[in-house]
């Protein structure tokens, strides 16, 4: 097949993937609201179709351009979307048995792909000499894997903050119901935190209006705040070494290409900021007084910093990485 045919196949597969992700996202949200396993099965199958199409698009793109298919922002976005969905299906659903985040991961991928196809599309072509190095395989791959996991960690963190807020409200209601505390009997929030690790307050105070089945189904679907917090931490702790490696590999490449391993180029600066913020998150989780919501806010700042590192630096800030478009 010719390069042109491969390019067309890649674009078609990209569209198939995008629409499959949109459909799967809707399916997962329907599953979240109606809590029927059938919706989940269908949504998951459609998401898998999207993954296959997305992968085909990436591979065909590489064949069309005769090089690695992650040489510009369009290609990077496509691969990022792919890995976020794969990560949601394999890590979040597969390893940690949490289904409720996949819809949001799909939403992230859909937005990423929509932005890519609307604003960042370029036809397949050869790389400029500055990018033509085997380090593009190492550095860029590490950056995509790290970014996709950070994105999943960010999604889990947002879910944690939402669920935590809801649980706190229920806990307050619980506190109001219980007899007024006697001396020394005030509710200790930390102890409450620990109590939540075992069971969600929604189970402690069953709402008589809801039937037991629905409560149980909801409980299985949306993990407790503590569980989401732990999940977010696990994913970020997985992403952090990969991101560290990506930054180090970038520095080695910079030494090979530009004659210095670090020059505070905007991309270097922002990948460092992202690294520092997530390092702060990991430390905050180990510091009393910073656990829980404060650490989660730091993780959200890291997530925002990641988006700046990718989009704003490439598109709006002049620097050595501004070749992407």
């Amino acid at each position: 097949m010719t390069d042109l045919q491969w390019a067309r196949i890649s674009n078609d597969a990209f569209n198939v993937a995008l629409f499959a992700y949109i459909a799967a996202m809707v399916g997962y949200f329907v599953h979240l609201s109606f809590k029927r396993d059938a919706f989940w099965r269908v949504a998951r199958a459609v998401a898998v179709i999207g993954v296959v199409a997305n992968l085909a698009s990436v591979v065909a793109r590489g064949l069309a351009a005769d090089r690695v298919p992650w040489g510009n922002m369009y290609e990077y976005s496509s691969m990022l979307a792919l890995l976020v969905v794969v990560g949601a299906l394999v890590v979040v659903e597969g390893v940690y048995k949490v289904r409720s985040l996949t819809g949001f991961a799909l939403m992230f991928s859909v937005l990423t792909m929509a932005v890519a196809v609307s604003f960042l599309y370029v036809g397949p072509g050869p790389l400029v000499p500055a990018l033509n190095s085997y380090w593009i395989k190492i550095h860029v791959q590490a950056a995509i894997w790290g970014s996709s996991l950070f994105a999943l960690g960010g999604i889990a963190t947002i879910a944690y903050l939402v669920v935590d807020r809801a649980e706190r409200k229920k806990l307050e209601a619980l506190g109001a119901q219980s007899p007024p505390p006697i001396m020394g009997g005030a509710i200790d929030l930390d102890a409450a935190d620990d109590a939540r690790a075992g069971a969600a307050p929604s189970d402690l105070v069953p709402d008589p209006a809801e039937d037991v089945q629905a409560v149980l189904a909801r409980r299985r679907l949306v993990p407790s705040a503590a569980g989401l917090d732990r999940l977010a931490y696990r994913i970020i702790a997985l992403a952090f070494p990969i991101w560290t490696f990506a930054v180090i590999a970038g520095a080695i490449w910079a030494q090979e290409a530009w004659g210095r391993y670090w020059g505070w180029d905007p991309k270097e600066t922002w990948s460092f900021i992202t690294w520092v913020v997530f390092a702060g998150y990991l430390h905050a989780r180990a510091t009393s007084g910073w656990k829980g919501r404060r650490a989660a806010v730091i993780a959200l700042v890291g997530f925002a910093s990641l988006l700046v590192t990718y989009y704003a630096v490439n598109l709006f800030i002049v620097g050595l990485h501004s070749y992407a478009k």
């Binding site: 072509g125 050869p126 400029v128 000499p129 500055a130 033509n132 190095s133 380090w135 930390d190 102890a191 935190d193 620990d194 109590a195 690790a197 075992g198 702790a237 952090f240 070494p241 560290t244 490696f245 180090i248 520095a251 080695i252 030494q255 090979e256 290409a257 530009w258 004659g259 210095r260 391993y261 670090w262 020059g263 505070w264 180029d265 905007p266 600066t269 922002w270 460092f272 900021i273 520092v276 913020v277 390092a279 702060g280 990991l282 430390h283 905050a284 180990a286 510091t287 007084g289 910073w290 910093s305 630096v313 800030i317 002049v318 620097g319």
Partner: protein
């Protein structure tokens, strides 16, 4: 009569030290570094793009001056950035030293025995057939097999065991690596250098201070040049028709200081040459026509003229722009005044010809094709003799013309001269003998690289156990119970508590098997058979004590 609140000097020092050591301080310093970096990425920075700083200052007069005073156009070199970094590293060291000492001590002392085993978050009590001492022995073997460090209590049948010291070792390695990184960066900056050189095809460049044209940036402790040589045999470039560059390659001979050939190499973008600690990078290229100027038959100038390209105006590709150079001839003009010849090279004369057509688009010049040089001759005092730039303020243009490659032209009238016809005309000629290319190399030396690389590897290697390993401790005590013994086992995990619950359960089962299955002392032999299922009754109190785990967690990290 000092007030009780006032601190003595030593108390204040201790307070400052404690504050620096705290994680809160480290977190705030990390945050400040992140904020400073954001400013450094949004505002133009002098080391990266001085011209954009000038432009910014011209556009924002008041703010420009204000930001410049605050050091915000060189954030990463400003005193306050250095201060924050220094504080962070002091905080880091203040935290690392006691932790390292504690780890060292912990590694050399056996795990501590526990008094109250049933107070730990994980607790189990099992009955085993073996007697207390034998049960503890088999427990010790089982724990050793699982790579626990085990210490037996000397006074009674009990033991303490721990595992996962790799977490603290990894964490300390990760954090110490930043000290190593800083050392490598400072050492490299202090003893290294970086500069730019332009070498014309056929010419040889030697690593010496004078040959860097003032572009050199050397560290304070830089200790001299190597004297190695580089001869540019050939430079080649390859463009797509769209003007996208595909390849830049310089074929060079690398020479020892005595001029002998060390090796031949192609230098490309992403493929620097490394010789004697020097890294030589492909950084740019340009045209260098070989020009000969004669005056009344005498050669007054001969050699390649290194040219620069005009900056392209908005909407025009750089490759469409002509190249400029100057030949300065002091004292060769009329009545002994200075003379200078401005040269404008069109490597592809078709692009020049196309521009003669009004309204034509500028054409990119991807290859040399019948190149031409437009020249203009100036007379008057030269302000400087540098090889680039001509200040024509006090000079006047006396003539102009065009000369093609391998042609000779009269400097006075510009008419192309036939071979051997140099005697006619103004008496001065210019020959465009040959069109060569020059290659711009960045030459850099950074003796800190091995240290920095080692630090980077240590950061990665230390990070993995620091994040994924977990410290857990197990205590076991055996009390005689009839013919056998009751094993009381306590467990505590500092991290990954849910996983430890499972691990602890498996451990209890394994110990029950080990101690129950081992041959009990002879008098107790028969009694042991009476145990139901030859095993043990396992009662676990793990989950009920789980809620205490949170309060036990004391993780100290810088």
């Amino acid at each position: 009569m000092s007030s009780p609140q006032r601190l003595s000097l030593s108390q204040s020092v201790a307070l400052v030290w404690r504050t620096l050591r705290s994680m809160r301080t480290a977190l705030i310093l990390l945050l400040l570094i992140a904020l400073a970096s954001i400013a450094g990425s949004l505002l133009p920075q002098r080391p990266n793009s001085p011209e954009r700083v000038l432009q910014y200052r011209a556009e924002h007069r008041f703010w420009g001056t204000f930001l410049d005073r605050a050091g915000l156009f060189d954030v990463f070199g400003s005193w306050w950035f250095v201060l924050i970094t220094t504080l962070l590293f002091v905080s880091l060291i203040a935290c690392l030293v006691p932790r390292t000492r504690a780890l060292w001590r912990a590694l050399r002392t056996p795990p501590m025995q526990a008094r109250e085993i049933d107070a730990f978050p994980q607790f189990a009590e099992i009955r085993v057939a073996a007697g207390p001492d034998l049960a503890i022995d088999s427990a010790r073997r089982a724990l050793r097999r699982r790579r626990f460090r085990v210490a037996r209590d000397s006074s009674r049948p009990a033991l303490a065991a721990e595992k996962g010291v790799a977490r603290e070792v990894g964490s300390l390695a990760f954090h110490w690596a930043f000290i190593l990184l800083l050392a490598g960066v400072i050492y490299g900056k202090g003893t290294g250098f970086s500069g730019l050189i332009a070498v014309v095809e056929g010419q040889t460049w030697v690593d010496a201070e004078a040959n860097y044209d003032g572009t050199i940036q050397a560290g304070r402790f830089f200790d001299g040049f190597t004297g190695v040589g580089l001869r540019l045999r050939d430079f080649g470039s390859d463009f797509l028709r769209s003007g996208q560059p595909m390849d830049f390659v310089s074929s060079v001979d690398l020479q020892a200081p005595d001029g002998s050939l060390l090796r031949q190499q192609d230098i490309r973008v992403n493929e620097p040459a490394k010789i004697e600690g020097l890294w030589i990078y492909q950084s740019g290229f340009g045209w260098a026509p070989v020009i000969e100027v004669t005056d009344r038959g005498e050669v007054v100038w001969s050699g390649p003229v290194v040219m620069d390209r005009d900056p392209a105006p908005e909407g025009v590709v750089e490759l469409a722009m002509p190249w400029r150079g100057v030949v300065k001839l002091p004292g060769t003009g009329a009545q002994g005044t200075d003379r200078a010849i401005e040269l404008e090279l069109w490597p592809d004369s078709r692009a020049f010809a196309a521009l003669l057509d009004p309204g034509a688009e500028p054409q990119a010049m991807l290859v040399a094709f019948e190149p031409i040089i437009r020249f203009s001759v100036w007379e008057g005092p030269l302000s400087d003799l540098s090889s680039s730039g001509l200040d024509t303020a006090s000079m006047r243009e006396v003539s102009a013309g065009i000369v093609g490659a391998e042609r000779t032209a009269d400097l006075g009238g510009g008419a192309s001269l036939a071979e051997g016809d140099a005697e006619s005309g103004s008496g001065s000629t210019i020959s465009f003998q040959e069109l060569r290319e020059y290659s711009v190399f960045q030459v850099a030396r950074d003796p800190g690289l091995p240290l920095v690389l080692a630090a980077a590897i240590l950061i990665l290697v230390g990070l993995l156990p620091a994040l994924y390993s977990s410290r857990r401790k197990v205590w076991i005590r055996a009390d005689p119970d009839g013919d056998g013994a009751v094993l009381r086992m306590g467990g505590l995990a500092m991290q990954r508590k849910p996983q430890f619950e499972d691990e602890f359960a498996r451990l209890v089962e394994a110990l029950a098997t080990a101690a129950g299955g081992s041959p009990p002392p002879s008098p107790a032999n028969d009694g042991a058979q009476d145990l139901p299922g030859d095993r043990a009754q396992v009662s676990q109190a793990g989950s009920q004590a789980g809620s205490q785990a949170g309060s036990q967690e004391r993780v100290q990290t810088p």
